[in-house]
Symmetry: C5
Subunit: 126 residues, 5 copies
Amino acid sequence: TLAVSSGSFSPNRWVKLNVGGQIYTTTIDTLCSREPDSMLARMFLQDGSMKPSEKDEQGAYLIDRSPRYFEPIINYLRHGQFVCDANVSVIGVLEEARFFGIYSLIAHLEERLGQQEEPHSDRPLT
Amino acid sequence: TLAVSSGSFSPNRWVKLNVGGQIYTTTIDTLCSREPDSMLARMFLQDGSMKPSEKDEQGAYLIDRSPRYFEPIINYLRHGQFVCDANVSVIGVLEEARFFGIYSLIAHLEERLGQQEEPHSDRPLT
Amino acid sequence: TLAVSSGSFSPNRWVKLNVGGQIYTTTIDTLCSREPDSMLARMFLQDGSMKPSEKDEQGAYLIDRSPRYFEPIINYLRHGQFVCDANVSVIGVLEEARFFGIYSLIAHLEERLGQQEEPHSDRPLT
Amino acid sequence: TLAVSSGSFSPNRWVKLNVGGQIYTTTIDTLCSREPDSMLARMFLQDGSMKPSEKDEQGAYLIDRSPRYFEPIINYLRHGQFVCDANVSVIGVLEEARFFGIYSLIAHLEERLGQQEEPHSDRPLT
Amino acid sequence: TLAVSSGSFSPNRWVKLNVGGQIYTTTIDTLCSREPDSMLARMFLQDGSMKPSEKDEQGAYLIDRSPRYFEPIINYLRHGQFVCDANVSVIGVLEEARFFGIYSLIAHLEERLGQQEEPHSDRPLT
């Protein structure tokens, strides 16, 4: 079954993530391999540094973030490429990369946006 | 479970919103922290100023608004940035920001649209 | 519950519409207030001029039209603004406005398309 | 109920189509009226020329084609207009019009693409 | 029923694929005919070269890849055309074509991108 027990994870186990209401299906291996210091890796590596989030009624881990901008993040974790459609906001993806702590992708996106420090992100509107 | 009791809310509880037929999953904390005077905050802060709306059959709070233009609103409440894809109507997002009373975002969007008073919105077509 | 009894409707009752396979959630009030002569208003005002359509297995009223171009229609009924993303066909929305009989919106869209008579729509391809 | 018995169809009966994994809801009348020689019409006219396809577990007829490019096809069958968003590939829609045998639409799309013979489609890549 | 037994497949059987959380419905014939050496063909041809992946709780085969860029892949397997909307990243589709081993499509996309060797893909960011 897809549900992952709350004990220890086997790396190739399938997990469901509920990102802001949309379900993403992936594996523990995808979440943990490419960027072992990321929030997602720490949630599922079970090294004690971070607990997985609560699950919804269908067993998907709840993440209170944008599903739209999570898509390039999870694809990046799958194959190591940043791929993004022309009409998708790169700043939106960078915001998620920072939240999840995907450091190699943050560096790539900041370079792409032509700025080391992203002023928008350091000074929230509110 | 995800369903929130109708009594008092704990700030980090998960809630589902049914916005015009699409489900968004988020937390009470996201809805209430950034803009405590907004309609969403008052619905869930339980200070008596506004009752939460009815729930659908899966326990999601019903909101009779556009799901498409709600997405940048909920993302703004999550991280304080206005992020919007190139093909999404900013006027559409402003309309929702006004409905939900997200004042800091209204100011930002009106400035972005280069006008203090948005004439379209003061004079509905009908 | 969300299902609406087939007797008389209370104006702020919630309804589900199944438009071409996609579910839209809204209220009787939204469907009936802004344009009382529209097909949607007559379906739900229960004045005897039109019967509501059949319901699907989850209680949503079946409407055999495009969900994509219905979205700006229902948003217009919600707040009186025509809001449309840059890549969405205005001719597609006009087609639906004509089907549903949203007269104020038809006039606005015809003006926007810069023509009083929309030749495409008077002469179907077949 | 929405499920259509395998015997003879009543023209205004509702049907569900599962096109490549996405559900479209429409009526027998829409599928059969505008283009009576099309594959969809022959599937549902029950004249013996073609059997309806298998159904999925929720009673939707299975069609192994692209849902994205089917959308303008079903809209055309509904109202006789070809309506297509700016970013949608017209070649993709033509491919589906040919598969389903919507001859009036094929002619219109070929003219629109400025070519009588569409070379791409006569010479598949493989 | 749609579920495919784990024994031997009949070529025109329907299968469901869960690609990164989105369900695609297709046939064994589509997956195996056009490109018999592809990963998908080997998974379902049952020649012993590759086992089908695990199934989710609704019987769909789990594939840990991007649903967005899988869409042009499955359409290509259906009809032999590469069809892609203007705003969809061709590099994203190429990445999937390589993963699934759709060799005729890889060649076509590399030519289209104007380069024999796609540098991005040979040097992942991490």
